[in-house]
Structures are given as structure tokens and as C-alpha cells.
Amino acid sequence: MAQDRKDAGAPAQPGEVAVEVLGLHKWYGEFHVLRDINLKVARGERIVICGPSGGGKSTLLRCINRLEDWQRGRIIVDGLELTEDPKRILEVRRDVGMVFQQFNLFPHLTVLENCTLAPIWVRHMPRREAEALAMKYLERVKIPGQANKYPARLSGGQQQRVAIARALCMNPNIMLFDEPTSALDPEMVKEVLDTMVELATDGITMLVVSHEMGFARQVADRMIFMDEGQIVEINARQNFFDQPQHERTRLFLQQILH
């Protein structure tokens, strides 16, 4: 996959670049789903990726913690290049939290157990400490009272907030959000977005695939517009909304902002 392995693992200016994507190509069979993606995300930066569905936004996000593999190009996360080495992949995943459209909470575990499972079994944290950590983050997403319930008893918005807390319990440097509000009932979108806005004040690096332009205006440092597997435009937030450079971006924003 990676074209050039000789400097695999060499730190890419630690402390500055959180994620670096270089010449990334991915095919699903014949279908060229990601075409020549180049992206550099600074530490602490908050990026919102938007674009029509099928444009490769989620696929790009999922490459960053290697839930998807690719055929050409390189991805370097926190100075670690994602190679095929399974140890390296696990190492990267431990530092990259991910929140899914469908929440993907573990239905056989309580909310608290959902949050402590990875700290205990991946980070080898003592149970007591993991539980304290989990309660801290559950309080942060404002649902400490639900800690001993099973996910099926929670509303969609609550489940998604638990999913955010679960990811935070691994103390990630980078958080990936894959359309976190798309599966929610309209009245629950706000509580999840509020949680994410609050998180954004924390200085954690965030990459968010979302169509919530209100949220994007509030927190994004830079905006990315993707279409047909390519990055069409990367722009600072203000410019992106006020004077988009590319015709397609303009059209898309018109449609989505009514």
C-alpha cells in the first residue's frame, strides 16, 4: 500500500501535524472512491468535511484509523505512518477516537462498561481508575445518571453522547466524527452538537464529517468540500462560507443552506 516505506515511522514534525495524508488513492473494485487526497491537519485544528453523499468523505475519515485500507498513498497520524504492521495500526487507533453515525455502542454492556472496556482491556488501566475516568466523561456529556443502564434504554441523542464519552475515555489526541447527527431524530441533534462544541473548546484535534453548517460555522477552523472522491476545496471557515472559490462548492452550499 504505502509507496515509500523507507522513512516509515519517522516522526513528521511532532507537535505540529496531527494528520498528514499524501497522494491517497482508493478503489472499491473498479470504482475510484478516493482520488489523490492530500491533506495536512495541524494539532488542535478543527476541520469539518462536507459534500454530497458518495463523495468519499466517510471513506477518507475511515482511512485515518485504517478501518479501510487503500491502494496508493500514505497516511501519517501523530508522526506514526500507518503501514500494514498490525501493531502500528493498533497503536494509531488507540490515539484516534471515532464516533459513528449509528453510535455502535456495545448493546450487551451498560453505559459505564461501554466506557471502561477499552481503558481496562487495551490500556490496562485498573478498573477503579477506569470507572472514575468514565464517570468524568459521562458527566462531561451530561449523562452520569444513565451509567448503569443498557444502551437500548437510552434515546438516540443520549446514545451518541455515550459514544463520544466512550471514545474520550481512551484520551485520544484526535477525534473523528462520521456524520454523528445524521441518524438522530431532529430534536436530539442539538444536544449532540452542543457536546461537540464544548469538546471543541478543549483543543483536541477534530475531523468531522457533517452537514450541520451551523455547527461548522461555530467551531471549524477550516472547511473541506469533497465531491466524487476528490477534495474540491479546502478553505478557512469564513472564506468558505462567504466567498467559496470553486463553482461546485458554491452550488452545494446554495443547496444546503437554502
Partner: protein, 384 residues
Amino acid sequence: MAASSDEPFVYVRSFPAEKLPPPLAATGAVGWLRANLFSSPTNIALTLVCALLIAWAVPPLLRFFFIDAVWSGTDREACLATPEHPTVGACWAFVRVWLSYFVYGFYPTGQRWRVDLFFLALAFGIVWLLRLSAPRRDIAAFYFFIVLPVLSFVLLHGAPPIGLVVVPTALWGGMLVTVIVATVGIVFSLPLGILLALGRRSELPVVRLLSVIFIEFVRGVPLITVLFMASVMLPLFVPDRLAPDKLVRALVGVAMFASAYMAEVVRGGLLAVPRGQYEAARALGFPYWRMTGLVILPQALRVTLPNIVNTFIGLFKDTTLVFIVGIFDFLRTIEAARADPHWAAPTTPITGYAFAAVFYFVCCYGMSRYARSVEARLARSGRR
């Protein structure tokens, strides 16, 4: 209900609607009867047909097995029809006399306390392990899977250094053998089946291919064939002194056979776990085995619990087939006993088989009930 406005299409509720108890006909015994037995013409017809069937079948059975039954006696004379007792029911006297043979087979009489102790140790382990509210079930698992097999072997086979005479497996028989074969089959088939099911879904082609070959081969062959191959063909290839014991060979055959079936059952459960669960676990940095053990299998096994128990029940009854390689399991001891000329009477075979049926039914129904209670508990705790 008063609409509180003069506007024709506006309605605002001015006071809350009262909460009323349900109508009497929907609750209580009458309500239950009406809803469950007499809800529609078809249902009424079915209820009547069933009532007639019960009235037709149950009294003669009661008469045969209890009222006309012979409860004590020393030989066939007790169970023969005489002018005083023209109708003779079940010959329970026969079962009473032969009971110890049904339980122990030819296990030496003076050593049978060892079998009793084994039954006790096993029952203790099962109850401790399976009672969901029991304390320290991790120790229970250690006891059941590590201590108990060693203890059982020492007890049943014998250990001369500590004064237990060796009892060759050829003398084992009856319920003892049935319980051993079933327990070993059940205990080995689940983990082996899980490994095979995971192997079949592995990304490594060699592992996948071997799993598929094993599953499809063993599943495509009758259990009798597997047992025959294990006990008749193996000695042809392995020198005599290396060939394992006859019972051990049958145990291996049964465990292999059951694990192939279990593999497919577990695979069904694995298919029911959504892809998002794998992705969430991988995104959190779980390596494969921890993801499988902590996230995937608990859900897969839960979904497929009814099928797993179904397979266990099938396996339990399949153990009767070990008679084909000359092992005296419970059913075989009954077969042997009913051929005894001392007890040749018209109703002894039926009584023996009825006794066997009761034994198998109690065991299988017990498994079924336990599974139901676990399912109910899972449903109550709101887990999907």
C-alpha cells in the same frame, strides 16, 4: 369532552382524561379463558379437539403406568397376568431390581461409591457454574474445567498410589457413561465450535480452508460413521500400545461431531452481529482476540443461545449411538436387561423404555428450561 372554544375546528383539552381500570372481561380467569381458549370459532374448535384428545389418551396411560403397575417383585412372575390380576401395567419391579446396573453398568459393586462421588462433584460443578447468582463463578469455571476432569479421571479410572483400584472403562456403563459422553461432548463442542466458526470467517486462507474442510467433512458423515472410524479404523493405523482407550476414542468422535455442528450454530450468531460492532471495537484499538472475546462473542452467543441448547439436546440424545462401538451407555443397559429371561414378561420392555424416556426427558427438559430462564433474564435486563 368540552371543546373550550367557539371556533369550529379548534379543540383544546381543558381537563385530563380520567384513568379507568380495564373492563372486567379482559382480566382474571374468565378473561384469560376467553382470550386464550375461546377467542374465535377456530380456537373454540381446537380447544375442544385437544380436550377430547387428552381425555382419550391420558387415563389409559395413568392406568398402565401407575394404577395397574407392579411396584415390587423378584422375577417375571410378579409381572405376569394372573386370574386375580388380569391386566398388568408397567413392571416397575424390573426397573427397581436392575436400577444399579442402569446407573453403573458393570462397575464393581464395592467401588460404586466412586461413581456416586463423581455424580455429586459434577452436579455441584454444574449448579455452581450455571446459577447466574452464584458467588465467584470464575472459581466455578476453574473447578469445572480444570479440577473436575482430573478429579473425575482419578475417581473413575482409579489411582493405585492412593488406594483406588483401576477400573477399566470396559466395565463402565449405564447413566455413568451417558453422562460422561454427553458432558465431554458439550464441554468440548462449544469452544471447539467457536474456534471453527471463527476459523471459517478468518482472513487467513489456510485457516479458513482447514475449518471448512473439517466442518463440511464431519457434518457430511453420519455420527455412526465417525464413531466407527474412531474405534475400528484408528487401531488399523496406530500400533496397539499407542491406541487410546475405546471410550476415549468414542469421546473424541462425539466431540468432533458435535463441534462441527456447533461451529455452524455459532457462525449463525456471528453473522447476526452488526458490522458496526466490529468497527467500534477496532476503532478503540482492540486487537482481534480481545475484540472477539469481549465484544463479538458475547453478542453472538446470546443471539444464538436457543440454537446452542438445541444442539446440546440433540447431542445428549445422540450419545445413545455409542452402543454401536460396544459401549454400554444407559439405553444399551436397558436393552441388555430386558433380554434377561428372569424378567421376560409382556410389559418389561415397555417399562424399561419408559424409564429411559423419563431419564432423557428430564435431562433435556432441564437444559431447555435453563436456557429459557437465561433468555428471560437477558430480555429483562434490556439487552438486545
